[in-house]
Amino acid sequence: MAAKTQGPAVGYTTESTRTLLRVVILCFIAAAAISSRLFSVIRFESIIHEFDPWFNFRATKYLVANGFHKFWDWFDDRTWHPLGRVTGGTLYPGLMVTSGAIYHALRTLTIPVDIRNICVLLAPACSGLTAFATYLLTNEMTTSPSAGLLAAVFMGIAPGYISRSVAGSYDNEAIAIFLLVFTFYLWIKALKLGSMLWGALCALFYGYMVASWGGYAFITCLLPVHALVLICMGRYSTRLYVSYTTWYALGTLASMQIPFVGFLPIKTSEHMPALGIFGFIQLIGFIQYVRSAISGRQFQTFLVTILVATFGLGLLGLVALTSLGYVAPWSGRFYSLWDTGYAKIHIPIIASVSEHQPTAWPSFFFDLNFLIWLFPAGVYLCFQDLKDEHVFVVVYALFGSYFAGVMVRLMLTLTPVVCVAAAMAASQILDTYLSWKSATPPEEQEAPKKVKGGLRGSDKPNVGIYSNLTKVMVSGSMLVYLLMFVSHCTWVTSNAYSSPSVVLASRMPDGSQHIIDDYREAYQWLRQNTKEDAKIMSWWDYGYQIGGMADRPTLVDNNTWNNTHIATVGKAMSSREEVSYPIMRQHEVDYVLVVFGALLGYSGDDINKFLWMVRIAEGIWPDEVKERDFFTPQGEYRVDEGATETMKNSLMYKMSYYNYASLFPAGQAADRVRGVRIPDQGPVLNTLEEAFTSENWIIRIYKVKDLDNIGRDHANAAAFERGQKKKKPTKKRGARVLRVD
């Protein structure tokens, strides 16, 4: 549809041929987008990746098995033991409902598909749709017929988007980026036409977006900023009024239907810009109406003053309401985007997540390749004929690149605008240099009338390119860049973004692939050898996987809503056994799971994450856990002979290195991650016993011992077992310590 309205007016047959060609090309683009995301399925198997997707997968299974109403009211007592989680009210249900709907649709068509395969392939399927949405959005920006297709292709294979949407990466972002781009397209369409219908559609997809991803706040803030910039530029129009008002009213109502969002849109600061601009635009609309009815210069000045004053007063009122506590101030995650030092001091749990780190420049190039330098050129082109929709691209580009610079994860929201802008620049170059018509010198040499406020250098008429040699040269080099882009994307996707991280791959000396499957081995062990309700304590990273794969209750998981509970686990991990044991008893822990990569050289293990556990625990118990104690006086973080006493006595250290030295000949024990030698005399565990260690020692599981039968404390009992003589056989010390719980 949109394709038909584009392009020069040509004969009917040519036009339909073009349309057909476009459809075919778009289908190819979608196919390329989908197939480039299938590396992991082909290399490994159809498996859910990483951590969060395991929860989404578990929730989807619950939804499919129990129906929507039960899902909505789902109270999950198998996570956050002993608190439980009101899952139905604390998640974004869009993703699960989407795959549930697909599942049921396919079942009605009598196509029996496993829900797991739908979940694995949902993200690639959506990437095809995202490419199409980008095509539509770009076509709104430029008249060039090729820009949209280029943008679609860029979006389809840009690593910045692939990183979160490979097959198996069943995360909210999988569908959210499609919704983001499509909502923007509908917004531009509504703004251009001043149409209530398009505005309502925009609100509908905005509602869907709110139901799917917490990143909806990006839309909630970007659209009002766009509207405000347009108003400041003196571009207020009834089109803007109609589209913004429709979007805000319906979109806010839609977003409030999600239990997790509820009344946030009128209570929290990140939603206030949208509300403020809504009020402001009403005021302007009213004043415009009055102005058209009454004339008089003084009256107009008066009105402008009122306008400015109201805006200022509204802002002041917001500040006052916030400081009085009626409006919640910016929540931690959002606030840390502005005050970049905030999270590190106040919320270590946010700072600890690797995708919340700032972005170094290589990541930009890695994720966007040559688009990154076409992007500013595209933004410049937007300044050329600065229409309303171009203002949107500029605003989006500025905010998007700022946020992407602050947080690696937000590269995802930058990628669409980079693709759109870069496609505009690339298509401008290609259109100019691929045209076979040789330029004719402008006949009339009269100076073109100066357009007020235009860009420098673009006021002269466009004559085209004279020489064919230069045309070949530029198009040739563009072709080289495009080909390099494609191979770059393939290489990046294949090497960096296609590892499920549940299954690891390594190369054998003869070059064949060797699969390291310790995670699933350990989870399978838990599933088969422990009680149905055995509580597993591990660091929060593994909570979702244990819930999904081992189906056992966990203490903490990746939904980091309760800092204290996480800190409790951190304290248990970082304290002495005597301190940890009562904590574990109180939380009815049966097994403790640690990830240990020293044997294999797997760097993402718990010893490397350990300092975060210490920091988070220190945030709650500053007197009992101190980060300083884990560093040597020289300020080093060591695990070998020179480790501090606190480190050596911490539960995490003991569980990681327990019996590790016995794998090696005397004096040879080495940690291949930290590259140090480990003392032969390993740590002694009294309150835990080793239950399971996976093939490559990546996962180690310990069973928490029960209280001693004859009332000794565990250290004594364990010493007795080892055949050591009791020091004071007459005094039974310490039994009282254990009975306090």
Binding site: P376, V480, W491
Partner: protein
């Protein structure tokens, strides 16, 4: 040293004597002082009597070195916060329910105390728990506050104190309203507003100039995409030596970068974008065919060379990257 070590006990004796003199209740006496100005300014003698062994009150003392010749930046920074804390605690606790006294001992007034405590660094913040009375602590030894976390705000010390002194009132910190700042802000805003309105004939064309907005936006975007925010958050060094007396411009490793390095990258991106803009916008508008040909050749070769250089820089950061363009292979 020997003289000092013999003086120290002497001082303690004097201190003990003083304490004996004020035997009635040293707390009452110091509390009266504190109501006038808190924290109390101490010297060697008053320090000893305030922290003397049988005490039924808590004392928190800041040992500091304010004189500029010691160059203690941390002391200078912390002093106003400390005064604020002492003042608002004493104001908030007029009845003395928390039985906590604030004292400041400057090195100039309390050299002997510093020496007897063996202090090498300042500031040191010590909390003495009472030895008798309902809140008596088991050990008479003071608790020290850890200043390692950098500049310390009054709120942090307040939290620490509240944790150390449970089941007692903890008067909140009341920061005085900074009238001067408010006044100057309001004046500034009004002044700028007036200036803008009166000079609008000159300012408006600048604000409405599309070229200015375009260049500002492009520069901002270039800064952000070349990792400026990373520098800002991580506080990376601008430049480091390579260990051989030279300078290394590019940090090895994918997740690290130098200040200068990001500027080089921003410049590269800028040149590349400029080439693309010229080829897309400027060149097709040249009326003369010869000039146009030269321009196309120059700009597309520049584009090619700089892109090749960018790829070679990227290969430094990411060792396994397989793609390159001549001539920087």
């Amino acid at each position: 040293m020997r003289i000092l070590s013999s003086i120290a006990p002497l001082l303690l004796l004097i201190g003990g004597g003083l304490a004996k003199k004020a035997q009635a209740d040293p707390y009452e006496e110091f509390n009266r002082l504190a109501q006038r100005s808190s924290p109390i300014k101490l010297n060697d003698a008053t320090y000893a009597s305030l922290t003397g062994a049988p005490r039924n009150h808590s004392v928190v003392v800041l040992l500091t070195a304010l004189e500029t010749r010691f160059g203690c930046q941390l002391c200078q920074d912390f002093q106003p916060e400390w005064d604020l804390l002492g003042k608002s605690w004493t104001r908030g606790d007029k009845t003395g329910e928390s039985r906590l006294l604030f004292g400041t001992l400057d090195f100039a007034d309390g050299r002997e105390t510093f020496i007897s405590l063996g202090l090498q660094t300042a500031p040191v913040l010590m909390l003495f728990h009472p030895t008798v009375g309902p809140h008596a602590a088991a050990s008479p030894e003071p608790v020290r506050y850890d200043f390692t976390a950098g500049p310390t705000a009054a709120e942090q010390v307040h939290t620490w104190l509240s944790r150390q002194l449970p089941d007692r009132p903890h008067p909140a910190i009341k920061r005085p309203i900074n009238w001067i700042r408010w006044a100057s802000t309001v004046t500034l805003v009004l002044g700028v507003g007036t200036a803008l309105v009166s000079a609008s004939a000159y300012v408006l064309p600048v604000i409405q100039n599309r070229n200015i907005w375009a260049s500002v936006s492009l520069i901002a975007i270039l800064l952000f995409i070349s990792g400026h925010m990373f520098n800002h958050i991580r506080k990376v060094p601008y430049i480091v030596g390579d260990g051989k007396g030279g300078v290394s411009y590019i940090a090895g490793g994918f997740q690290s970068q130098l200040g200068l390095e990001t500027q080089i990258v921003a410049a590269i991106y800028g040149v590349l974008s400029f080439c693309a803009i010229t080829l897309a916008v400027k060149v097709p508008r040249m009326a003369d065919s010869k000039t146009q040909q030269v321009a196309v050749v120059v700009w597309s070769i520049t584009l090619f060379l700089v892109y090749s250089f960018l790829l070679s820089v990227f290969r430094v950061k990411n060792g396994g990257y397989p793609f390159s363009l001549p001539p920087f292979m």
